[in-house]
Amino acid sequence: MTEPILELKDVKTTVKTADGQVVPILKGINLKINTGDFITIIGTNGAGKSTLFNTIAGNLRVTSGQVMHNGEDITKLPEEKRTKFISRVFQDPKLGTAPRMTVAENMLLATKRGMRRPLLLRKLKQKMPDFIEMAKTMNNGLENRMNTFVGGLSGGQRQALSFLMATITKPDILLLDEHTAALDPHTSQNLLTVTDQKIKQDKLTALMITHHMEDALKYGNRLLVLKDGQVKADIRQDQKQKLHVADLYDFFED
């Protein structure tokens, strides 16, 4: 049995509300993520899905428990250092890209994710042909807008760029936080298809939060149901295939 690429051991987190009360969010999460897993995550609002991502990405500290990466304890590793092996696409297209920089400049930034950024010329022109090829895989005309400021792109193109940037340097873990939720149904489907292709092609390990039960069943090899800060169900490939949307709703019944 090989080491899981990421493991959460009894992870608990709390937040402080405006009136000073300490509220538990994650209440003891145990999770082993293996290389090549594509896990879809569903759960009601407040179940702790985003908190789980924040804990993995490192911009939220755990109150107790451990986060392990390839068997190494990274519980105290700051967010910037974790970017060497973790990348993330946010729900809001505005969060994942720099609006006053061009598409190509944004991609260039992403090629150095988690790496040293030296005081040497960026050599954007030499990298342009590669960038154009990569942009073509997004299937939405992004390759024709390489020198456009990202602020001028449509939400769909902007989010496709965020996704491209998150995968441009292969991450150990890819976190997709409802990354198609802000898009119209057609654009959303296109990005999901591209996402699925890319994950298969590059053999990425990914976690995807979604509110669409159909998508949760259609994509990935594993399904996680979060409820009230705990893993309510962890469904593997063979069982997952037999499930229907109606079965998923049963998980939320109490």
């Binding site: 969060l95 720099a98 609006p99 790496m115 950024r117 005081l119 010329l121 940037m165």
Partner: protein, 299 residues
Amino acid sequence: MNLVVSAIGQGLLWALLGLGLYLTFRILNFADMTVEGTFPLGAAVAVACISKQMNPYLSTLMALLAGMLAGLITGLLYTKGKIPILLAGILTMTAIYSVNLRIMGGSNISLLGKKTLFTNQFLHSLPQYFDSVILGLIVVIIITLLLIFFLKTDYGQAFIATGDNPVMAKSLGIHTDSMVIVGLMLSNGIVALCGALIAQNNGYADINMGIGTIVIALASIIIGEVAFGELTLNQRLMAVSLGSIIYRLILLAVLQLGFSANDLNLISSIVLAICMMLPQLEKIINIKQPIMKGVKKHD
């Protein structure tokens, strides 16, 4: 004619102020009040060093380093101390006032009879006021080229990204805190350099010479943007210097109308306020096009 040459020379020397502030105001996206303190700090350090018989080049370098130190302090207060940037800048600025009095040992010192960057045989051989034009041009070109290079490096791109979208920058592993600190150091270093040059040009340093510097710096930036419109980043940096010259020419025109030098801060603020309100005014009346035409005709 002499007055116009003088205005251009002043515009070039003061352009450094705009270039320095550009790094924080336009790239990191906040207003750094520290510059009101670092400008006279640069002047004080340079003049104090020169009056202690230090080489003027070395003295100017000392001024630059002093400015960077001030930027470092504001940066630490803001990023590590979590003090809002406006207040962090005001704190440093206020503290520098006392430091400046210590450095100068009084509220002003003169450079009478001392060797400065301007006491140079070549510069002396030029017609009146051309010394500041030439020296200003050299320094502005060097600083602009260095900034252009800096912003085109991988490091500089990360710096731009920090100001543009800090959440994204962090998620790409950029240490946004260090970027902000480096930006404040560079910015204040350049502003102090500007103070050092102005003091040597004027022949004295004065404790109150910092009042209004942020408005002058912003005026250069905004006038450059209003006058030249959509530009690339490199062109924008050059536009700052041109904006600074235009601003001096506007002041010259206003003085010719009979206003006194005491009115300058009032006029500066009015000019800046008008420029910053242009986008709003434009919504009400289509004012920009006639102005742009006016600018182009005279070109």
